[in-house]
Amino acid sequence: MNYSDIVTRCRASNDWAPLVEAIPFARFLNLRIDVKGDAFTCILPFEQKLIGNPVLPALHGGATGGFLECAGLFYLLLEMETRSLPKTIDFNIDYLRTGLPRDTYANVVMVKQGRRVVNLRIEAWQSSPDKPIALGHCNFMLGA
């Protein structure tokens, strides 16, 4: 089973759970994928285990970072329909606001699509898309 087949099946049913199930780390974060027309959103449902700072409390920066990377990879699997996973070349994360103990959403912008490398901007937000809690900028090497 390759990823483009999974994406095709998910698209037909608009049930993206099988794609999340295909990536153990995404399953560990209990991610959800929501696709409405051209709009792609990846969701990190809040769970106590995602807390980094229990005093505030705030999401762990490592959890937010891992979520951003998953969102970018899922976006590319949907957009590029490659059989294998893209490989992360580098990942820059700007943490802009405290991640509150609530659900987090991620939207993705393809900044540049090259033949082998794509550059993505991934924005994570909670209360409103214009108040991002974290931004990811990253280059991915496309899979076959």
Binding site: F25, I51, V55, H60, G62, G65, S84
Partner: protein, 158 residues
């Protein structure tokens, strides 16, 4: 007066373990403090099937490297502070040089190379055996924040 012998490295790392597990996310991933020295702090994660990024290869997800380095960066800063201060990650950059080898534990090591009153600058890498053969290299900037520290400074082993 009896002189107290200095603690060996394993004992110091073991005593720092409770600070790793202050964070629920670190507990969930079972991160371990491996080395805690002013010139190098390393956090370890055992290979876990649940953390794989690509089942076709068995390689751990990049998000695992991210948390490992984030925690090591925090330790590398804490170990240089005269007293704990709450802080937040401002930014983090990770370059992936090669995939982690499936089945093997990964270490995230770091050093804080510049401290100012408001910021801490750190660099480090993820590796199996040696930082000279890195899986990923990383730099980060952390900002000290207001509020109560997550961990109190009592009994911090030095």
């Amino acid at each position: 007066m009896t002189e107290i012998p200095p603690l060996n490295e394993e004992e110091i790392a073991r005593r720092w373990q409770k600070f790793v597990h202050v964070s629920p996310y670190n507990r969930e991933l079972n991160l371990q403090s491996d080395v805690v020295r002013p010139d190098w702090c390393a956090i370890k994660i055992e290979y876990q099937d649940a953390l794989v990024g690509d089942p076709q290869t068995g390689v751990l997800h990049g998000g695992v490297i991210t948390v490992l380095l984030d925690v090591a960066f925090g330790f590398a800063i804490f170990v240089k502070l005269p007293a704990f201060r709450p802080m937040a990650t401002l930014d983090l950059r990770i370059d992936y040089l090669k995939p982690a080898t499936p089945g093997r534990a990964v270490l995230g090591g770091a050093v804080c190379y510049k401290l100012t009153s408001e910021l801490a600058f750190v660099r480090g890498c993820a590796y199996h055996e040696s930082p000279d053969d890195p899986i990923a290299t990383a730099v980060g900037i952390y900002m000290f924040t207001e509020g109560r520290p997550v961990i109190s400074y009592e009994e911090v082993p030095r």
